[in-house]
Structure formats: structure tokens, C-alpha cells
């Protein structure tokens, strides 16, 4: 193993290479630019290809094309680029093409603030394209080291589910320097819990079986299997068809191959002191690190506070919200996105509160004050335009 003091972008690059990624296409955008730069430097050393695209739409389409040609491929961007991925993500979901997509969240809407963290694409990661009728898998690490692990995991899942798998990070995580350990051998990878899955080739003639089964290899072109894929509703063989029943079956596969195999990834979360907690703080990504500190301090002060940190954010892990307690969602949005899912998932009549910020992390004293008030059944402070209501 090798240790580095490096950025999340570095960790992601090394993770992707460990997972077998040999194709990256991207478009410069803060704060994901350094990842593209790192890929342009590292991939050729490993015999991989880095391509700079004319826009994000092309970048992601080139990755899907490379994946259809048999490469493990990845692209990365931030919010304003991620919306241009809508087109290729939809295509990759429908064609069931493996791909890893990283979104490093900044502050929106539109270009917003480029060099600060945000989590405003929480819902966009669930609904990244039009049309509905699909599930998505999204992992949200909170450190550089975990970025590496989750990128490796995303490649693993994308092959087994044969679909694009997304990683949602944020500016602090991808740009921040941290202590990073990179495994050098397969044994070391296993030791660190890294799983990999080789690319296989679907031999057909049933390229799009109507089943929720895992491990059906993806369509790979150029092997003369007669493999076909398109943007239309497919028949089992992959022909385009305008038929409601066929579409229903296709949608069943896209939805239930994920929903029925969540055990493959729903262990990605972290709980702390939740068993006897009166207040459970829910968070993911960079704010969860402040939450962690605040919860530890609160416990030291005798407050019965616990932390539930989500890593697998989509499909949303409803089952983690079975405890009757007060919940507080801490997230980097002013409009409140995570809190809506928490409100939906908690047991009936549970209190759910919202503490949002954006572009900056909440502070430990702020969090401690909020914990104290909620435990005393007092409303959260309202400082001018900072409202709890969402």
C-alpha cells in the first residue's frame, strides 16, 4: 500500500484505474476539472484513453460508446455539466450499458458558485433523465479515501447491474487534500474491501430478457454476436417496438433488477449512537463529517443524539428509518431535498426537522445548539432569512 497526501480527485482516479477503467472522457468544469486532468496524466500510463470532449453531452456519449465497445468507462462533471448528461444517461439506462458517472456538487442553480460545495443534485441523481420507468444507484462518499472505495464499488455494481452507476461527491471532497491509502496488489484491494467484476459479453440472442436477474452480461458490439441496442423500447432480441406490453416488461427489468437486489449495496451507510437516540441526525457527503463531530460532542455532554450517515442514497434506504425518534436532516441545500425523503421514510408521526446550508458547511456549535433545542422541544432558531420551513 502507498500513502499520499492528495485530493479526492486523485483518489477517484486511482480507484477507477484499480477497478479496470481504461476510458475517460470529460469536459473541463470546476470542481471536477482536476479529475479530468489527473485522468489525462494517469490513464495513458496504464494503457487507457483520456479524451476531452466538445461538451458534456458528447463526453458521456463517448463513454457509453467506449463501454459498448468493451471498455470500462467513466466520466465526471459538476451540476451544470451533469444536466447535459441527461441524454446519454437515459440511453445507457435503456441500453443497459455499464458506466460510472461522478458528480462533484457545487452551488446552484445554473453556474451558481463554482468553488463551493452543494448537494442540490440529490434528486437529480435519482431522476437524471426524462421518461421515468427506471431506478438509479447512487453512492455518496464523504472523504477522499471513501471516494476511491465508492468509485471501485460503482464499477463493480455497474457491471453486475449493467447500468450507469453514479457517485455524488461535492467540491470539498473532490478538491480537498487528505491522507489517502492506495492498495497496490489484489490482496491489498481485498483487504480494503474493494470488489471488482470483469467485463463480460452478452452472447444473445436474448439481449434484453424481461427479468430482474443480475449478472446478465451487457451488449458489447464488435464481437459479432448480433447484439443490438437502441433508444427505443426493445424486444427481447433488442429490436425496436412500439408496444405498451413490451415497454412494461422493459420498465419492470430496469426498475426491479435494482429494487430486488438492493442487498448488494444497501450496507453502505454508517450509524453512530442511534440505538438509544432521541434525536437522529441524517446526512451524507461532506456535512456528515461535521455532524459526526457534533454528535460525538453532544454525547459527551449527555445529549441522546445519534448519527445516520447515508452512503447509498439511491434507491433511498427507507429501512434505516424504522426507529421512532426525532429526525434532523442536515444537508447542503436551502430548499430541502434529503429532508423530504426522510419525512417520507420515517415511522408515522415522527418529527422531522431540517437544517440546510449551502456553499459552506454547518458549524459544530450551530449543530449543537440545534440538537439542544430539538431535544428540549424548542423550535430551531430562525435568523432572518434562514428558515427551517421547506
Amino acid at each position: 500500500m502507498k500513502r499520499f497526501l492528495e485530493t479526492g480527485n486523485f483518489a477517484i482516479t486511482e480507484g477507477a484505474i484499480l477497478a479496470g477503467c481504461r476510458f475517460f472522457a470529460g469536459y473541463p468544469i470546476t470542481p471536477a476539472t482536476e479529475l479530468a486532468e489527473a485522468m489525462s496524466y494517469r490513464l495513458p500510463q496504464e494503457g487507457g484513453v483520456y479524451l476531452q470532449a466538445e461538451d458534456e453531452c458528447a463526453a458521456c456519449h463517448m463513454c457509453v460508446g467506449a463501454s459498448l465497445g468493451g471498455y470500462k468507462a467513466m466520466t465526471a462533471t459538476s451540476g451544470p455539466g451533469f444536466i447535459l448528461y441527461a441524454d446519454p444517461i437515459g440511453w445507457a439506462l435503456g441500453c443497459e450499458t455499464p458506466l460510472v458517472i461522478l458528480n462533484s456538487g457545487r452551488v446552484g442553480p445554473v453556474s451558481g458558485i463554482t468553488g463551493a460545495p452543494g448537494q442540490g443534485e440529490f434528486y437529480l441523481m435519482r431522476y437524471p433523465t426524462q421518461g421515468g420507468n427506471f431506478e438509479t444507484i447512487c453512492l455518496a462518499p464523504n472523504s477522499a479515501q471513501e471516494c476511491m472505495a465508492m468509485v471501485v464499488e460503482a464499477f463493480y455494481l455497474s457491471e453486475r447491474f449493467r447500468m450507469p452507476v453514479m457517485v455524488l461527491a461535492d467540491q470539498l471532497i473532490t478538491d480537498g487534500f487528505e491522507d489517502i491509502t492506495v492498495p497496490e496488489t489484489e490482496e491489498e484491494m481485498k483487504e480494503m474491501g474493494f470488489r471488482t467484476w470483469p467485463r463480460k459479453v452478452c452472447q444473445g440472442p436474448e439481449f434484453y430478457p424481461f427479468t430482474d436477474e443480475l449478472d446478465i452480461p451487457p451488449v458489447v458490439l464488435g464481437h459479432n454476436t448480433g447484439g443490438i441496442c437502441s433508444d427505443w423500447t426493445p424486444t427481447v432480441e433488442g429490436y425496436d417496438i412500439e408496444e405498451v406490453e413490451a415497454h412494461h416488461k422493459h420498465a419492470y427489468r430496469l426498475i426491479y433488477k435494482v429494487r430486488n437486489h438492493r442487498d448488494l449495496f444497501n450496507h453502505h451507510y454508517e450509524e453512530k449512537f442511534v440505538d438509544d437516540a432521541d434525536l437522529i441526525v441524517v446526512s451524507f457527503g461532506s456535512p456528515s463529517r461535521v455532524v459526526n463531530t457534533a454528535v460525538e460532542k453532544a454525547r459527551a455532554q449527555g445529549m441522546k443524539v445519534g448519527s445516520l450517515r447515508l452512503i447509498n442514497i439511491w434507491p433511498f434506504p427507507d429501512e434505516l428509518f424504522h426507529r421512532k425518534a426525532k429526525y434532523l436532516a442536515v444537508e447542503l441545500t436551502w430548499d430541502g431535498q434529503l429532508v423530504r425523503e426522510v419525512q417520507r421514510a420515517v415511522p408515522k408521526d415522527s418529527e422531522v426537522h431540517f437544517l440546510g446550508t449551502c456553499g459552506d458547511l454547518p458549524t459544530t456549535p450551530d449543530l449543537l445548539e440545534s440538537f439542544e433545542k430539538l431535544l428540549k422541544n424548542e423550535p430551531l432558531s430562525r435568523k432572518g432569512w434562514v428558515l427551517e420551513a421547506w
Partner: protein, 282 residues
């Protein structure tokens, strides 16, 4: 009625998709046949080609007709997809794209230009039915000036990529395409020879092939769905390069042939990477 398949169709095309679901009298089949004939005359087999298509009449009607591997991409993005695929596929596998005019010259023009820029080995056949016909018949970017369509009821008056001095083939030549040609669907054997050259170019080739749409375009512009009228209308306004007349819209033949003059994309990228890997620098 029994469909009698020819040797060409039974060798290269899938019975399920032939005959196609195109409108009666559609000229797309003529373009399709020109391309398959060229493939056959070059002695290529289904395993030698990955066939890509896109959205619209041309894309949908040709998707999955090829017996080998194939894809239908999102609207206008087949050229970006094909670039990624080009990197991944072995260089001897050919990529052939049959797309429409709206796809290539409208929504996909940026990606098309960049595919030409990097001279990615692919043959793009732009099947031009003079507008957006699968959505009912709106004008496109190569619709002849003055033509009446559903979205140009007074006649097409905007400058477009067929206007004097603004030909889309000039744009693509400037962008670095190494083979460019134009033929109308009725050019038959001459067009087959051109498509053969396009396929043999190890680099970016594009053949622009206007074809007749009796159902939507002709109904609006000529007031007739009689196929003969639209076929004649196109033929009358087409002439070989150098023999253009006053009313020529489509100058046909090979516009630009710089075949194999510049290193192809896949080769360029992989050779460069090999060198970086060996020596650590360019």
C-alpha cells in the same frame, strides 16, 4: 404477398426488418441498397461492420436491418458514440452510420464536426429527405430554398447549409473530413462506387444522399404523393459536379477525397498512448 429476398438482403439483412416499415414510395430503400451493394462489392462480411443509426426516418428504418452488430443512438449523438466505440473496437472493424439530415446537420452538427476533426474512422451516410419527415414534415438545414413544409408554409426563406457558399460539405472539409461526397438516391451504380471509396478511407467519410419523400415533403411542396413527381423533381435539380445548371440544387459526385492522407483517430490515440507508456512523453 410473398416477399422474395435477393441475395443481398439474405446475406446482409435481417428478414424481420425487410421489407421495412417505411411509407410506400419512400426513397430510403434506394440509399440503403446502394450502401449494402457497396459493402458486398468490397467483399465485406457482417462481422466486419458495426452499423449505427439514429433518430428519424433514416435512423429508425435502418436500425437493426444489418445482420451484424448495431446500435441506434440518441438524436444527433451517434458521432460522439461512434468516437468512443472507435477507440474500443479493433481498427479493422468498420463503423457505418446511416443517419438523417436533421440528425447530422442540425442537432448533431457539433459532434459531426468533431468526428471529422479527429478523422475518426467511420462512414456516415446522411440520408436526406429534405427535412424532418417522421414528425410530419418540417424544414431542415438542407431543405431547398423556397420549399413549402409544415413549418415553412410560405416557403423556406432562411439561409441554410445548402445556401450559396454555405454548403455543409465545405464546413466538414474545413473541419478535417478526409472523404466527402454527395449523390441523390437515383444515382445508382455511380453512388455505389462512391460509397465504396468512402468505406475504404481509413478516416472520417461522409456521403450526403438526398432521397425522395412522397408522403410528407412531396405532398406539401408538390401537392402530390405520386412518387414519380418527387423522384423527377429531385433528379431534375441534381447534376454531376462541374455540369451544374442554373437550377441545380445538388451537385453530385466526390467533393473531397483526401483518403488515407492523415492518421486516423484510433491509430493516432493508441500509438500516442503506447509511446507515452514506453517513454513517458510524446
Amino acid at each position: 404477398m410473398e416477399y422474395k429476398s435477393s441475395r443481398l438482403t439474405s446475406t446482409y439483412l435481417r428478414a424481420r426488418k425487410i421489407p421495412s416499415t417505411a411509407c410506400s414510395g419512400c426513397g430510403l430503400g434506394m440509399n440503403h441498397k446502394i450502401v449494402v451493394q457497396a459493402i458486398d462489392e468490397l467483399g465485406l462480411e457482417t462481422k466486419d461492420i458495426v452499423w449505427g443509426t439514429s433518430i428519424g426516418c433514416a435512423g429508425r428504418q435502418t436500425f437493426a436491418t444489418w445482420k451484424g452488430d448495431g446500435f441506434a443512438g440518441t438524436h444527433g449523438r451517434a458521432y460522439a458514440i461512434a468516437r468512443g466505440l472507435r477507440i474500443a473496437l479493433p481498427p479493422e472493424k468498420k463503423i457505418l452510420l446511416t443517419v438523417g439530415d436533421g440528425d447530422a446537420f442540425g442537432i448533431g452538427l457539433l459532434h459531426l464536426i468533431h468526428a471529422a476533426r479527429c478523422n475518426a474512422d467511420m462512414t456516415v451516410i446522411v440520408n436526406d429527405n429534405l427535412g424532418y419527415q417522421s414528425t410530419g414534415g418540417q424544414y431542415g438545414w438542407t431543405t431547398p430554398q423556397g420549399a413549402h413544409t409544415d413549418s415553412s408554409p410560405y416557403g423556406m426563406f432562411e439561409h441554410n447549409l445548402m445556401s450559396e457558399g454555405m454548403d455543409v460539405l465545405h464546413i466538414l472539409k474545413g473541419a478535417g473530413a478526409t472523404f466527402l461526397a454527395r449523390h441523390v438516391a437515383m444515382d445508382g451504380a455511380v453512388a455505389v462506387e462512391t460509397v465504396k471509396k468512402a468505406i475504404l478511407n481509413r478516416g472520417f467519410s461522409l456521403v450526403h444522399m438526398p432521397y425522395p419523400c412522397p408522403t410528407n415533403f412531396a405532398a406539401r411542396e408538390l401537392g402530390s404523393r405520386n412518387q414519380v413527381n418527387i423522384y423527377r423533381w429531385i433528379q431534375r435539380q441534381a447534376a454531376p459536379l462541374g455540369q451544374e445548371k442554373e437550377d441545380t440544387v445538388w451537385a453530385t459526385g466526390i467533393w473531397h477525397d483526401a483518403s488515407n492522407s492523415r492518421r486516423e483517430f484510433h491509430e493516432e490515440i493508441h500509438a500516442t498512448i503506447d509511446k507515452i507508456r514506453r517513454t513517458g512523453s510524446l
